[in-house]
């Protein structure tokens, strides 16, 4: 059984159809890269999978671990092991990063029938991940993402992922805006999590990330549809010749987004 099975998924916002029939199967242990021009619907797909209500699903099915994913609340999806690293992580003044993460981890642990962590257990548990992601203590104590640099926000997303240990991680342009050192950190955080039971959907514009996180499949999304799928070589081709070589018009969608 596939871990995630998306069938003919349609979604819209304000009467505008953004996903126009997506089909995608992700098996346990696989890494799928999704590429595509600006405004093609990559983030929409990622957010729909995580349960963002803003997007109305108007057709199709999504099955995750044999369950109807679309019937679950966002928090239940997270508890069942789905994690979305946001393209634009939200700043939440007034809630400390550490408190937030402990609350999140404990609800997930509770759901899995594990005992909740107190403050000490939690610090022990995250120590190794803090080191791995080179998270300064200051970042942990600060309000969630508030005043973080672009790179710090992205690192924080992957740090959260490392702590929550999801089964299906969806990374939405986690590489954008990262310097090369930060990119390596992010990649090592991701690779640490790779395993036969874990799967990933990696949305990116750049081959650069895929040098570190080598995908099993690459898909091209354009105007709300997957128009091409292939192996990791597809990303290299795209990098070389651009989307136009595939008959995909970039400009119009980019303007549409602005």
């Amino acid at each position: 059984m596939a871990l995630l099975e998306i069938r003919d998924l349609h979604a819209q916002v304000g009467g505008r159809e953004l996903l126009k029939g997506i089909d995608l199967t992700v098996n346990a242990g696989e890494v799928h890269a999704i590429m595509g021009p600006n405004g093609s619907g990559k983030s929409t797909l990622a957010q729909v999978l995580a349960g963002r209500e803003l997007y109305a699903v108007t057709g199709g099915q999504v099955t995750y671990q044999g369950k109807d994913l679309l019937a679950l609340s966002p928090e239940d999806r997270a508890r069942e092991g789905i994690f979305l690293a946001f393209q634009y992580p939200i700043e939440i003044p007034g809630i400390s990063n550490q408190y937030f993460l402990k609350a999140a981890l404990n609800t997930v642990r509770k759901h899995r029938g594990l005992p909740e962590f107190d403050a000490m257990d939690f610090l022990d548990y995250i120590r190794e991940k803090v080191d791995l992601m080179k998270m300064e203590t200051a970042l942990l104590n600060r309000p969630v993402n508030t005043g973080f640099s672009g790179g710090e926000k992205k690192r924080n997303e992957i740090f959260q992922m490392a702590v929550l240990e999801p089964t299906l991680a969806i990374l939405d342009e986690t590489d954008s805006g990262l310097d090369i050192d930060a990119l390596k950190l992010v990649a090592s955080g991701v690779n640490l999590l790779r395993g036969p039971q874990r799967s990933m959907i990696v949305v990116t514009h750049y081959q650069r990330l895929l040098d570190y996180i080598v995908p099993d499949y690459v898909h091209v999304l354009a105007e709300g549809r997957i128009v091409k799928s292939g192996g990791k070589e597809l990303a290299l081709e795209l990098e070389k010749s651009g989307y136009a070589a595939f008959g995909i018009d970039e400009v119009e969608e980019a303007v549409g987004k602005a």
């Binding site: 966002p74 928090e75 003044p93 007034g94 809630i95 609350a103 609800t107 997930v108």
Partner: protein, 419 residues
Amino acid sequence: MTAAAEQASAWLRNFTEQRPSAPWARELKAAAFARFGETGFPTTHEEDWRFTNVAPIARTVFSAAAPAEADAAVLAPFAEGVRLVFVNGLFASAASEVPPGVFAGNLTEEAAAYLGRQAGLDAPFSALNTAFLADAAFVRINRGVVVEQPIHLVFLTTANGVAGPQAAHPRTLIVAGPDSQSTIVESYIGAGSYFTNAVTEIAAGPGAVVDHYKVQMESLESFHVGSVYAGLGRSANFTSTSISIGAALARNDVTVTLAEGSEAGLNGLYLANGSQHVDNHTTIDHAKPHGTSRELYKGVLDGKATAVFNGRILVRKDAQKTDSKQTNKNLVLSDDAVINTKPELQIFADDVRCTHGATIGQLDAEALFYLQSRGIGKRQARSLLTYAFAQDVADRVRPKPLRDWLERILIEKFHERPY
């Protein structure tokens, strides 16, 4: 007798049946009662009371507050430091030693020179309070004295066997000498159905630093009307923090008059739920040049609660180089809650910097989704974000015990603590 006449005669009876007042206070009280007789209770036709209907207060016949014992358990959270306790407006106890250079106790004749100077008799509720002046919290800090510990004034209203609602008129007078530094905390608590009509006057001498807190935690069946009047000397620094959580109907006024180079910080947090109504009116009077004021009021409204924020900033002709900033932010958690927010800037000087802004918002859907996407349930996510909204006002509370206590209250209110 008409209802109105019955109420008027009840107030008159209460007034005349007071225990005899000190000779020096008699004239002031008589003038105050006469003044109240002229104005009566305000109605919603008056601009200042447009959104707050005090008819429920006006039509209730209150008995005069009677002496009662304070329950030790009720007072437990206020145990630390210098503490004065007033029960039903009457002086009950002073709990601990007062530091040198400080007087903190019941009203003395010495207070006569200051009493009524800030409050005046124009505001009907202040006139009413003055008419019923009996005991009062009197705090005097001598020139140059720095008081480390907060001075806590606790005003408790309790029925203690008296049938029917009582009216208590707590009065506070704070005289902060030049270059003195002090922290004063007023807490209003109580049980049952009653009316608290409080007036606080603060005279801050030149260079004095006064950090004032008012915590309104009255019973949910009560009415609370309270005014804080502060007059600042040259270069005095005054901070007012008004936390309003209790009462069925609460009206909190803060009026500050600045002198040359003085600084005023006005912080407020109001939480209202169910059918609570809370009204905050503030007036910052920049009477002289080079004054600075910073105002931040935040409100959280749920259920069918209604709230009012009216922030008046007056910059007089003389008050050049005034620097004033006002912010009012409201978080509205339900469809039925209502907030009326209004800045009222009256600027007669030309070389000034005055900014103001008001927001009314719901919980941020994106932030909510972010928390949920990490496994945090919707309810918990909502309470976390609500707490987070109120956090920055709570952070400004300087005395740690008070800040901790407020955080506990907020947690109880919102169930969650994000730190």
